[in-house]
């Protein structure tokens, strides 16, 4: 069993190891036949060139910007909505709940074409707005948070209300701190999803300066022909942040993705 596990793990790691290996080779050695793992002159040059070029860093910057913006907006908007649905009664509440369920069924993939047309109509195609705003709509997140709020005992809230706190205050000072683990899960899930999202960002922007990392990497070519070591170094650099995040926040990430 142990041997089997080790073999499987090695198979799973070889593609990554080979990528790293290629990225460390001098460009002239990358396409040599037969293949060899160790060649003279291995160095971090390719990584250096990726940094020097700046393009990949700009895409990573865009990814970070978009990821943070979507995450912040999602957490803010969905937690407010979840609180409202869990703790208040208003006309149309059941309609909103039904909308949420309906929204979960809609695959974002079927919206790409009309959504692009809408961005064109609004005049925000090819802007950060087009990248961020449509990605904020995650009805499932409202659902997750609502379930969490539903589980918070009413007594806590009533005590606060007696102390004269308004609803916004109850939300901000009582519920949000209580919901920290759930919010963290929502935030991490949203960030990971946004960071790795391909299809919508691919549709939303055409300007290479606005592209997120996955889109830029797949779309923009080098004018000087394919430089394998450099391309794979860029791929590793862009793939690294989330893996590092995984190592740092293993437990939270696992809970988030399970949720």
């Amino acid at each position: 069993m142990r041997a089997l596990a080790a073999v499987l793990a090695v198979i799973w790691l070889v593609p990554l190891a080979w990528t790293l290996d290629t990225a460390l080779k001098p460009e002239s050695e990358t396409t040599r036949i037969p293949v060899s793992w160790f060649v003279p002159g291995m160095s971090l040059d390719a990584f250096g060139r990726v940094f020097g070029d700046g393009e990949v860093l700009a895409w990573l910057g865009n990814s970070l910007l978009v990821g943070v913006a979507v995450t912040v907006l999602t957490v803010a908007v969905t937690s407010l909505a979840a609180f409202g649905l869990s703790r208040t009664r208003f006309r149309g509440r059941s309609f909103v709940l039904a909308l949420l369920v309906a929204g979960v069924v809609v695959p974002p993939q079927v919206l790409i074409v009309p959504l692009f047309a809408e961005m064109v109509g609004l005049g925000i195609a090819d802007t950060y707005w087009a990248l961020v705003l449509p990605q904020v709509v995650l009805p499932a997140m409202v659902y997750v948070l609502k379930k969490f709020f539903d589980g918070v005992p009413r007594e806590l809230e009533e005590a606060a209300v007696i102390d004269g706190a308004g609803r916004l205050r109850v939300y901000w000072s009582l519920m949000l701190p209580l919901a920290r683990p759930a919010l963290a899960a929502v935030a991490i899930f949203t960030f990971v999803t946004t960071w790795n999202n391909f299809l919508w960002p691919f549709v939303a922007v055409s300007d290479p300066h606005l592209m997120t990392f996955p889109v830029g990497l797949a779309t923009v070519q080098s004018s000087y022909g394919v430089r394998y070591a450099q391309v794979l170094a860029a791929a590793l650099l862009g793939g690294l942040p989330l893996v590092a995040l995984f190592l740092a926040f293993q437990r939270q990430l696992v809970t988030a993705i399970k949720g």
Binding site: L111, G121, L232
Partner: protein
């Protein structure tokens, strides 16, 4: 006070309406026009819907999507389950398994495709190099439709098995140790334990993983589009890719919207059937 509840929901609702309801309506409107990419449109009635049922590319891309789903889903589920069973054992290198099995899932699709494109290369690709060393012939991993689909499935399994792995691992950890200890006292072998304790207790997870995987596979676009050289192998084109190409490569926003709607109906039916089935069981 009565209205204040609504204001909590309002910001979300605004975004929901603007970027989910409105595009649904925009798409519905566009689907009965000949709208092009620049927005000009003329009403054409049901012409787009009639056309798509006769369009061989619609059927072939649905077929590719189906093939992808039925081949990748079992592989991903089985590999994910196997990984979880292997990694759930109390061994010191457990963290390494978790990292190895789960790391690929955290990579953006374009990174995954670059890596595999590199591995699949003729001549200097690692896989073909290995085959040559073993005395087997090279395989043109991306050169024929059939092989390209196989390569896409292999890549997908490597990339996403970690998701099933994680769900199974979590489910395994919830099974009380005492069950195993008690059965061990009764003389049960590990294989018997697997069959009588582990598998029955995982049945809900199976269902969850399989359903999530099927729904995700039907919506596949990224890795097929990118691994086939951005649409360069029409023989593996998925339905979402055909929607993308109709709308943005052939500039037919109206037609693409009509296909989107039919595809959406299909997904909704599958989701409903699943919902019905699970509702009856409970």
């Amino acid at each position: 006070m009565k209205r204040s509840g609504f204001w909590f929901v309002a910001p979300f609702l605004v975004l929901y309406v603007a970027f989910l309801v409105v595009p649904m309506l925009v798409g519905l409107g566009a689907s009965v026009t000949d709208q092009g990419i620049t927005g000009h449109a003329k009403f054409v009635g049901g012409a787009n819907y009639l056309e798509l049922f006769r369009d061989p590319a619609v059927w072939s891309s649905l077929w590719h999507t189906l093939i992808f789903t039925v081949t990748s889903t079992p592989a991903i589920v089985l590999v994910g389950l196997g990984m979880a069973l292997l990694a759930n054992r109390a061994v010191p290198e457990r963290w390494l398994y978790r990292l190895a099995f789960f790391a690929p899932y955290l990579l953006p699709v374009s990174v995954v495709v670059l890596i595999w494109n590199w591995l699949y290369q003729p001549g200097f690709g690692l896989i073909n190099d290995l085959l040559t060393r073993l005395g087997l012939g090279e395989v043109g991993w991306l050169s024929t439709d059939g092989m390209a689909m196989t390569s896409i499935v292999i890549t997908t399994v490597w990339w996403t098995a970690g998701f099933g792995f994680l769900l199974y691992l979590a489910a395994l950890q919830e099974i009380p140790r005492q069950l195993y200890e008690a059965s061990a006292l009764d003389g049960a072998t590990p294989l018997q334990q697997l069959r009588r304790i582990t598998m029955p207790l995982l049945s809900r997870t199976h269902q969850l993983v399989i359903v999530l995987q099927i729904l995700a596979s039907l919506k596949v676009f990224d890795q097929i589009y990118l691994l086939s050289g951005q649409g360069g192998i029409p023989g593996v084109r998925s339905i979402v890719q055909y929607i993308y190409e109709s709308g943005f490569t052939r500039f037919r926003v109206g037609y693409a919207s009509a296909i989107s709607y039919v595809f959406f109906a299909l997904i909704a039916v599958i989701a409903l059937v699943h919902f019905r089935l699970t509702a009856e069981k409970r």
